[in-house]
Amino acid sequence: MADFDVPVLGDHPLCSVPAIKPGAMHGLKPFAVNNPMHNTDLGFPGALVENWEAVAVAKMGELLGKYRSLQVFLDSCVKCGSCTDKCHYFIGTADPRNMPVARQDLLRQIYRRYFTLAGKVAPGLVGAKDLTKEVLDDWYSYFHQCSQCRRCSVYCPYGIDTAEISMAAREIMDSIGLGQKYTNEILGKNIKIGNNLGLPPPAIRNTLDGLEEDVEDATGIAVRFPLDVKGADVLLVTPSADFFAEPHIDGLIGYAKVFHQAGISWTLSSYASEGANFGMFLGSYDNMKKAATRIRHAARELGVKRIVVGECGHAWRVAYSFWNTLIGPFDFLDPKYPAPQHICEVTLDLIRRGALNLDKSANDHRVVTFHDSCNVARASRMGTTPGGQYSIPRDIIRASCNHFVDMDPGTIHDQTFCCGGGGGLLTDDLMPVRVKGAYPRMQALRQVQQEHGVNYLAAICAICKSQFLKVLPYYQFDRDMIGGVHQLVSTAIQLGTKE
């Protein structure tokens, strides 16, 4: 099935630390932007600029001045080794350059050469290096083998966040015209059209009409999927994959059923039809702001009182952690509700208040486990108590089905492993690193499959869902195992019994 080695799953839920294979992933890199428009749409040079070394160093200086954290991260590593075996890409590829410290050092060596006294005077003594084409190639390769999942930062005694270093590296590369095709093309569509897929409004409406028909055929209940309805209470912003892909669309059906039964008036927006915000993957504040601004604009135009975010990992990080400074203040929304609010917060609150009628036995054919998505688990929160981002989705699952079991404690909550496709890596040209990076998660999944008969892997992130759909078969799992949390709700909810 694969023209590369796929790790073999063992019996223990945690993968052992591999013997290193230097250079194992050397040279693997995603397609760079070829069509200049994919860069210029984002305000970057269309192709590699002539004096790229000087521009890159200047950009690094700008970022160091702007983000104090970046300089602290580059200065404070003591090479203790805590992070070395924590990255799923290292565990899956054995390439020592996929150890988080080695990834950081790719940037750190240049930082030292141009921004520290020791590196300027005696570069050889402090691991400082000139910025050469060879270094740039390494950057492009290995900063696209990082999904910015932040697992390593959990174990770092200094709290060094490799994701932030990776974002800075990508921002520098974009600033000299070396952009990644997948992320940049998509972000351009989001900024220009309103969603990552480039779905025009009539296509969204057509898809939603089809879903209304399907749900009514299946349940006999006319559940609406409203689009651009002025005066609705809730604006739902969800990843556009929820309109397009499987199994994502079953989650969208779940949200609609929840709103329907609870009697909440809601709408989607064709102008802001995307929750995802790839600006974060590039570390590009300006582009992140442009994408997010469409959402504020839509919320004001439609006159909604609440903004709810669907199942999307980094969308939730951007919304929860950055929206307030990007597109706030939200003083035009109803202060009784959190702004923004996660769909899981909405649903669990309704369950607790008895507003939803769920028949758990409808999911009796499923034995469910939950994959904590990295951006939700380590970069945001839900609810009003610490750890709400772990407990809330699980509480919804337990309310929707009878058979739930967690994977090994070392692979969930803040220790969760990335699906392997986050951070702009969900592209076919990176399939080897995506498959290998999924290894630790697949290993933990295999154990609960063998011990408990797990046959449903629930996630609340569009990237996780697409990634698992693709990689599960490489590990001899059925691809249909992956689904959303709201897909379980959708199965369990008894329409027509409450409204």
Partner: protein, 111 residues
Amino acid sequence: MATIDVNGKSFEVDEEGYLINLGEWNEAIAERFAGDDNTQLTPNHWEVITFLREYYNDYQIAPAVRVLTKAIGKKLGPEKGNSKYLYELFPYGPAKQACRYAGLPKPTGCI
């Protein structure tokens, strides 16, 4: 820019093998793409390809997988209106592989 030759004519394709100029598409190109994947196009493949092209013509975008499965179910019978069947026809994923054969751009996003 890479090119492919079909029946003595040259066509531009992108890094991932998708046709650059959508207007240039013809059935021989689809056959060629499929042949490169060791796939023989059957009438059922053509049902999918034709539907994709018609939908793209109407909406300037490929249909959602759910829209596609429903349409195929109506044409070929309900037992074939599901992603599993589409994966049998297009093992690399119905959205991306079938779009490539149909001469449409690659669907992008978290898919």
